[in-house]
Subunit: 227 residues, 2 copies
DNA sequence: TATTTTTAACTAGCATACAAGTTAGAAAAA
DNA sequence: TTTTTCTAACTTGTATGCTAGTTAAAAATA
């Protein structure tokens, strides 16, 4: 497990949640593996309590399955849960990009534009940085629409989806993702909800094609009930 | 605080979460009041630990604001968070009722129909029972579409909305709510997504009108940043 | 009396200890 | 050898005590 230093502003519980989340999403902790509270607590230099609380939160999104008195199972890649996460993101964010056409102020547009400039700069240079900018772009849409609580809920479920996305980093064309973002931005700037909706749905559709490839290529991580 | 008996199948943590949730939604615990872990633990006959964990989960939806070393503030009625909850429910469930038109099997339709029959039976007889049946009706839609994880996420946020709904029980016309449900059901049965969408949006629109009435009538519970 | 300082009683975060249930392997019995 | 029983080492759930920080009222000072 990769253990980054603790940020001084976060509590031990938040630190534990952040580190475990990152390690699960990056597949550093493998799907289907068992992790114990004590084991993680020792690795992070904490007691069981904050780790236990982080585990509880992770279990709410079913990314971690707590088996009382047995242990904690890092969930296998589950197509049903990925479908739910995709459904939630697409449904919510499609509605948001339409609303953003009305709500986006000049400063919001500038922030989106700055983010896109960075995406274009890091394109084919730093995949991790690009992924972070991608997440930031989507988060900005929520902020423009004053829907940060929805962002938290969607993010929690998206962990299933994010884990697959990191698997597919090499097969997805970063170039197209960034140009998709540009198209969404242009539609918001032009205050054209129909175009924004269309551009967003085209964007999200790209992650559909990957699933078939991934499910064949990484089947050791795919849960049984996935087809 | 109303303390129902502990269900033998639930853990102390789940029990604490259920009891506190019910008391907050029913306004038995007033918006803006402070509650302590020890106080609730004593009332429920538990130690602080499971109550602490229940508080953490409640704080995730911002229905409870944990102020470290100070106490826990039961959130005031917040129009922004209600708007988010409404937005999430309307957006997600509008998409679901469309999908349900394809996905609903004969048995699903029968379950919806049974639920509706009970709603019609309890109409103007038992408001609490009707509310429970309403919740069950919406939950069935999620189950038909295999989106129970989304249901959990939406439910958590809906607490803000549910708290207002209980305030508005007398002003909302139960008769219309039940006939709305019937219209949604008919559309799903006829496999008509456009009609289902329209019926659902008409249904949810009813809760818009109430807000203005409630915000004037119960202003002692409304947070400052609400307009 | 008015203002500052102190103190004692709170709070939640966290560490630790124990309780209760599971599991795998050793030991005993067939 | 094979099967069964037992035991010891695990697991998470929960209780308890301690820590650090906040608050409000009492006490000291002006």
């Amino acid at each position: 497990m990769i253990v980054p230093p603790k940020n001084s502003s976060e509590t031990n519980r938040e630190y534990a949640f952040r580190v475990i989340s990152e390690n699960i999403i990056s597949l550093e902790i493998e799907p289907g593996s068992m992790i114990g509270e004590q084991e993680i607590a020792t690795a992070l230099g904490l007691s069981r309590t904050p780790v236990h609380e982080a585990f509880l939160e992770l279990s709410k999104s079913k990314i971690l399955d707590i088996l009382p008195q047995k242990g904690c199972l890092v969930s296998m890649i589950d197509s049903d849960l990925i479908r739910e996460a995709r459904f939630l993101r697409i449904t919510v964010e499609t509605a948001l990009v339409e609303d953003a056409c009305e709500l986006a102020k000049e400063e919001d547009l500038r922030e989106l534009d700055d983010n896109l400039a960075l995406q274009e700069f890091y394109l084919s240079k730093d995949a991790d940085k690009l992924l972070a900018l991608d997440n930031e772009f989507h988060k900005l849409i929520y902020r423009i629409c004053n829907k940060m609580q929805c962002y938290y809920m969607v993010s929690l479920m998206s962990m299933h989806f994010d884990r697959v996305r990191s698997l597919s980093l090499h097969s997805v064309k970063d170039l197209k993702i960034v140009s998709d973002h540009r198209a969404i931005f242009d539609a918001i700037k032009k205050k054209d909800p129909a175009a924004a909706r269309a551009a967003f749905q085209k964007h999200m559709a790209r992650f559909d094609l990957d699933w078939n490839i991934i499910s064949r290529e990484y089947k050791q991580y795919i849960s049984d009930n996935s087809k």
